[in-house]
């Protein structure tokens, strides 16, 4: 609670970076592997801080992402709100999982999210996506431990600067 101020700006900064990362195109070959950056960062923050990120903020971030990525307004908002809810719900358990188990839960969250998105897409009359649609959750899982370490590091650095 002491570090509220600085953490908040760090949270917003990392989320902004995640949003930008999701807009920056990868080379053609890698593009189906693009992870859901914003979700990963949001999961991290809602896991690591008690109340710095809540569903309201997730909703807002989702709306920004919707506007920027041209998806249906409210689509990413919905997906991120559900993500934060689930993390908060299972937080006490998730936090004490060993890294590999945590990565598996992240996979679960991301797959769940993809299922919701596919369901909405189906309602809109979109054709079913190819198998490549399921790659990003796997990449997200693989990236999770590293992202976790990176964000932890950033947090520690921000804290040091503050004190």
């Amino acid at each position: 609670m002491k570090h509220n101020r600085e953490s908040r700006s760090l949270i917003l900064l990392t989320i902004l970076m995640a949003v930008l990362l999701s807009l920056i195109p990868l080379p053609e070959v890698l593009s189906p592997f693009k992870p859901y950056w914003v979700a990963l960062v949001v999961i991290y923050w809602s896991l690591e801080t008690q109340d710095m990120i809540n569903m309201g903020l997730a909703f807002l971030v989702g709306l920004v992402l919707d506007i920027l990525s041209g998806s249906l307004m409210g689509l990413h908002a919905l997906s991120l709100v559900i993500m934060v809810f689930l993390v908060q719900h299972f937080r006490s358990r998730l936090r004490f999982f060993p890294p590999w188990q945590q990565a598996l839960s992240v996979l679960g969250l991301l797959v769940n999210d993809r299922i919701i998105l596919i369901w909405i897409a189906a309602l809109l009359g979109e054709p079913l996506p190819t198998w490549q649609y399921w790659l990003p959750p796997l990449i997200g899982m693989a990236l999770w431990p590293w992202l976790f370490l990176l964000l932890d590091r950033m947090r520690a650095m921000a804290r040091q600067q503050k004190s």
Binding site: N4, I24, G56, L57, G62, S71, M73, G125
Partner: protein, 321 residues
């Protein structure tokens, strides 16, 4: 939606508002509210109620973000261009020159055809054909949601782009301009499931509508009569009905015809010519309304739009029909 969020941002003591339902219950209740809100938003966006207008306004506010997001890829490309081997450049240049020669050859014959066409039209007393100007634009390197069927191009209101303008690439129709920002505009692709394109089969002149299917690989023409003369390989062009897309531009080729005798219509699948998923360079079509009256009073009515595109990258005046 904003006040709700603000309240939540400000109220840090989110662990205590469990007055009515207890903590867990209040969280679930809030989840439900947000889900409902999101669903309402999505629904309104889908039926085009209010939300698209808010989106346009927000896009205008976020325009710098698009430019920033485009930088890395552009920088990468310029580095790649600079370090490209000399031999490769020379062969590429050679190929382009040959291509240019071929194209200008076919254009030469076309001018003769255009004049002939004009003479015939004059003989018939028909209206003059329209004149088109093409404005070059590039897609910006910003990744969008794969379900959005939208791309951003680097020309906007400042360059005179208008909502509804048709966009083509070197091969065929790409889509139409949807939102116009200052230096960017979004193009709705013809593959969007909500997009309908008035077309015509070039060989027979049969008019119909080609709908997007959410896939860049094909469009669907669901309203072709069972007995209609359509076969794979037929070229599909725009019919010009609906006044959005100018007539006569190639759209694609019939790929497959499904005739089920139980149904009223045949299903015709069309493979679009345009590189919807991998193209970079596009052309915006500017339609020059034909001078209806004789050149007496057309001076001021016709001058400004004709001059406007000329200070921008030299559009080619090409005459269709």
């Amino acid at each position: 939606m904003l006040p709700v969020n603000d309240k939540n941002l400000v109220s840090r003591e989110s662990s205590s508002p469990g007055r009515w339902f207890g903590e867990e219950g209040s969280r679930t209740a809030r989840l439900m509210i947000y889900i409902l809100l999101a669903i309402v938003l999505m629904f309104m966006d889908q039926i085009g109620h209010y939300v698209p207008r808010i989106r346009t306004a927000m896009e205008l506010a976020f325009e710098p973000v698009f430019h920033v997001a485009g930088w890395p890829a552009e920088a990468f490309e310029s580095i790649e261009l600079r370090t490209r081997e000399r031999n490769k450049l020379i062969t590429e240049n050679q190929q382009l020159l040959e291509q240019l020669l071929k194209v200008s050859g076919s254009v030469q014959t076309q001018t003769a055809l255009v004049q002939e066409n004009q003479r015939l039209r004059d003989l018939l007393g028909a209206t003059r054909g329209r004149e088109y100007f093409f404005e070059f634009a590039e897609m910006t390197r910003v990744d969008l949601d794969p379900f959005s069927h939208k791309v951003w191009i680097n020309r906007g209101a400042d360059e005179g782009v208008l909502v509804g303008q048709a966009v083509i690439d070197g091969l065929g129709i790409v889509g139409q301009v949807e939102d116009v920002l200052r230096h960017l505009s979004s193009v709705r692709l013809i593959s969007d499931p909500d997009h309908a394109l008035p077309v015509q089969i070039n060989r027979t002149g049969l008019r119909t509508v080609a709908y997007g299917r959410g896939e860049t690989s094909h469009l669907l023409m669901p309203n072709v009569p069972l007995q209609a003369d359509v076969s794979p390989g037929d070229v599909i062009v725009t019919s010009g009905l609906g006044d959005r897309f100018p007539p006569g531009f190639p759209v694609g080729e019939v790929e497959r015809v499904e005739r089920d005798s139980g149904e009223t219509f045949a299903k015709v699948y069309v493979r679009p010519y345009a590189a919807l998923d991998r193209g970079r360079e596009v052309l915006l079509i500017e339609v020059q309304k034909p001078p209806e009256a004789l050149p007496t009073e057309t001076e001021d009515a016709n001058e400004p739009p004709q001059l406007e595109p000329q200070d921008e990258a030299e559009p080619l005046p090409v005459d269709q029909q």
